[in-house]
């Protein structure tokens, strides 16, 4: 009997140990709360398929992600999957921090349906180091109670601005104090007008071009007319958002995340969305922000990481997890028939197909002159003089490299 008990005990211990040892852990680093749903969905799928892969989400705040992730990479700490703010991906790809996933991505049937600018941002030297993951797309939100229909071009916008100013009301506000806010909601207006931030290869600063200057002048002109808050040069993102939600300002630049945020403000705000438009209104654009997903070179489970990325990009991940919770799919083939995409979401989804995002390995450093340009121009300085000066500083930063 004793022998039998010993046998069972040993067998049980061995089975337990073996089970634990073969259960592969996948360490995922994320900066957005939605990643919990994706990880949950992935783990459920793995369990359903009988695969011993368990993803563990290391959710880090937006503000700390870059520093902590870089420190982890530098220290050789194991990270299997990283959801990185897309704007920083060119830098990580350039320093050799990410695994090449070109073959994997090209073998997927939806490869050519993946968001182009996001895919381009994850590329370096012709290879893919990151895949689109979650998109934050920008556009205008306007209050139908103050502005029944949105302007279709800049001339119409100026004319409406004059009407608002005549009534002593505010029409539009923007966050000049926030470099991220201005590149997210200001630069796309310049892009829709043919303007540029940096060249496609990221080697030339281009904010002083005539089309970008034209956008700055257009906004500065509205300031002079008087339909813009007088202190807009020092307004931050929450300032203009609060003003909009309080019904004090008729329209602001925002992102798809605003669709849920405006739901509880129905008393003063009847929100609708429209894309950023160029001078004549024939072209639209948007800033495509959000996350790219990548496998750091410090991974210990590359195959499991690819399995995870496959799930993130799948219909289950993109529709049932991501879009269901308010996101915009990063695959254009998932727009039609998507039950969770409302008309408001479709404004952003369509804008994501014509939007852009600057490619540069020194993005963070370029934000400094960019912010200065915005604050000086919206404080009333001469547009072209400021843009020429700040463009020269940007070029110096680009030339110095990372």
């Amino acid at each position: 009997m004793k022998l039998l008990i010993k046998f069972f005990l040993i067998t049980f211990t061995l089975v337990s140990v073996t089970k634990t040892s073969f259960s592969e852990e996948l360490i995922v680093w994320s900066r957005g709360g939605w990643s919990d749903w994706i990880v949950e969905g992935f783990n459920k799928k793995m369990a359903d398929e009988g695969k011993d892969i368990v993803a563990i989400n290391n959710l880090i705040g937006h503000a700390d992600f870059q520093v902590k992730f870089t420190a982890a990479l530098s220290a050789g700490e194991r990270v299997d999957v990283a959801n990185i703010d897309l704007i920083n991906v060119p830098y990580y790809a350039a320093i050799g921090a990410l695994e090449d996933m070109t073959d994997f991505l090209k073998s997927q049937p939806y490869y050519d349906k993946l968001n182009g600018p996001m895919l381009a941002l994850g590329s370096y030297d012709g290879a893919h180091f990151a895949a689109p993951n979650a998109a934050d797309v920008s556009g205008y939100v306007y209050n139908k109670k103050l502005m029944p229909t949105p302007p279709k071009n800049w001339a119409e916008m100026t004319s409406m601005c004059e009407d608002f100013a005549a009534k002593g009301q505010l029409m539009i506000a923007w966050p000049s104090k926030s470099y991220g806010g201005m590149i997210f909601t200001g630069m796309p207006v310049a892009w829709a007008n043919g303007g540029s931030f940096v060249s496609k290869d990221g080697k030339t600063a281009e904010i002083n071009g005539p089309k970008t200057a034209e956008w700055f002048s257009h906004y500065q002109n509205m300031q002079n007319i008087g339909c813009v808050p007088e202190n807009v040069a020092v307004w931050d993102w929450p300032d203009k958002q609060d003003a909009f939600l309080a019904g004090d300002v008729a329209m602001i630049g925002t992102g798809n995340f605003m669709i849920n945020a405006v739901k509880d403000h129905s008393e003063k705000v009847d929100a609708a969305f429209t894309a950023f438009m160029g001078k004549d209104g024939t072209k639209n654009s948007a800033f495509i922000g959000g996350d790219l997903i990548a496998i750091p070179v410090t991974t210990g489970a590359k195959d499991a990481a690819l399995e995870y990325i496959k799930y993130v990009l799948s219909e289950a991940g993109q529709i049932e997890v991501y879009t269901k919770n308010g996101g915009i799919p990063i695959r254009s083939d998932l727009f039609d028939g998507n039950p969770y995409l409302t008309d408001a979401h479709m404004v952003f989804a369509n804008a994501s197909t014509v939007g852009d995002v600057p490619y540069t390995t020194v993005y963070q450093e370029l934000m400094d002159p960019w912010l200065v340009a915005n604050q000086r121009i919206f404080s009333g300085e001469d547009v072209q003089t400021v843009l020429d000066e700040q463009n020269a500083i940007m070029q110096k930063i680009i030339d110095a490299g990372h």
Binding site: L73, A233, V234, E365, D368
Partner: protein
């Protein structure tokens, strides 16, 4: 083993933990910063010796000079503000009148709040839309007829707005230092001064302040060192704006190191800040030691 030897061994063992901590958390990072400042230090791969290149890069960078200039202007303005308020409250709270303990606690209360929390609270108080301070200032005519006062509009007004918060936050700790100094002054000095017919102002100027010198030295050294290392208050309240006019040296260092990942130049900046602090502290100690 002789008694002296025994005592020396015990003494050494007693300071060993502190020495270890000092080595691990101060001396090693300090040495490493020096070492890094002479290298191009990538996140991956081997560091490359570049001599003084990082220092030259920093000295040629306009952003360095702008942030250095602002840091000095901030230090020169906030230090007297803090000191005057602290001295005033210390003199008031040092009297033996009823309620002084209560007021000491009230003045000291902001010190226990975290710096970041205080910055956010004041940011809200300065809000163009909801700020109590702004409403009060507009009530007294600031901001013109349109009543659209915004303290963040210029670098100068932004700095004074932050200075007010820092004074509110830290004058309490300086007050305590000065009260300790005031209480160490013997009463007979005041009695002698009274017998000689000195006015209140003459007593403060010729008796209190000279005898308070060691406490003033400590308060000023702490204040200047803290101001040179200013970071949280400007990151939260001004973000260095408008147009980089309130960017401090430490903000520039953090940007360089953790946003731009230029670790060599960031280390060089750290060394420069340390040298500035060292020189300023030595100068202050010499100035205040002169007449002890």
């Amino acid at each position: 083993m002789t008694r002296l030897r025994k005592e020396q061994t015990v003494g050494l063992l007693m300071v060993l933990p502190a020495l270890l901590l000092l080595t691990v958390f101060f001396l090693y990072p300090l040495g490493n910063s020096f070492w890094m400042s002479f290298h191009k230090w990538p996140l991956f791969g081997k560091p490359k010796w570049v001599g003084l290149d990082n220092y030259i890069y920093m000295f040629q960078d306009e952003r360095f000079w702008e942030s250095l200039k602002f840091t000095f202007v901030y230090t020169l303005t906030v230090t007297p503000m803090l000191f005057i308020v602290a001295l005033g409250t210390a003199l008031l709270c040092n009297s033996k009148a009823w309620g002084t303990t209560f007021f000491r606690s009230i003045y000291f209360l902001p010190v226990v709040m975290s710096f970041a929390t205080a910055s956010y609270v004041w940011l809200w108080l300065y809000s163009e839309m909801y700020g109590v301070i702004i409403f009060a200032l507009e009530f007294f005519g600031f901001g013109g007829e349109k009543k659209n006062l915004n303290v963040w509009k210029t670098g100068t007004s932004s700095m004074w707005a932050v200075n007010a918060m820092v004074t509110w936050k830290f004058s309490g700790i300086q007050m305590i230092i000065l009260i300790a100094g005031l209480q160490a002054i013997r009463d007979d000095f005041y009695e002698a001064s009274k017998l000689m017919g000195a006015s209140l102002w003459q007593t403060i100027w010729h008796v209190t302040l000279p005898l308070l010198r060691p406490s003033i030295a400590l308060a000023l050294i702490l204040s200047i060192a803290g101001s040179i290392q200013a970071y949280e208050q400007f990151v939260i309240m001004t973000r260095g704006g408008p147009s980089n006019s309130t960017k401090t040296l430490v903000m520039h260092t953090v940007d360089m190191g953790f946003d731009y990942f230029k670790l060599g130049p960031a280390a060089a900046l750290g060394v420069i800040i340390m040298i500035i602090l060292f020189v300023l502290t030595v100068v202050q100690l010499r100035l205040f030691r002169k007449n002890y």
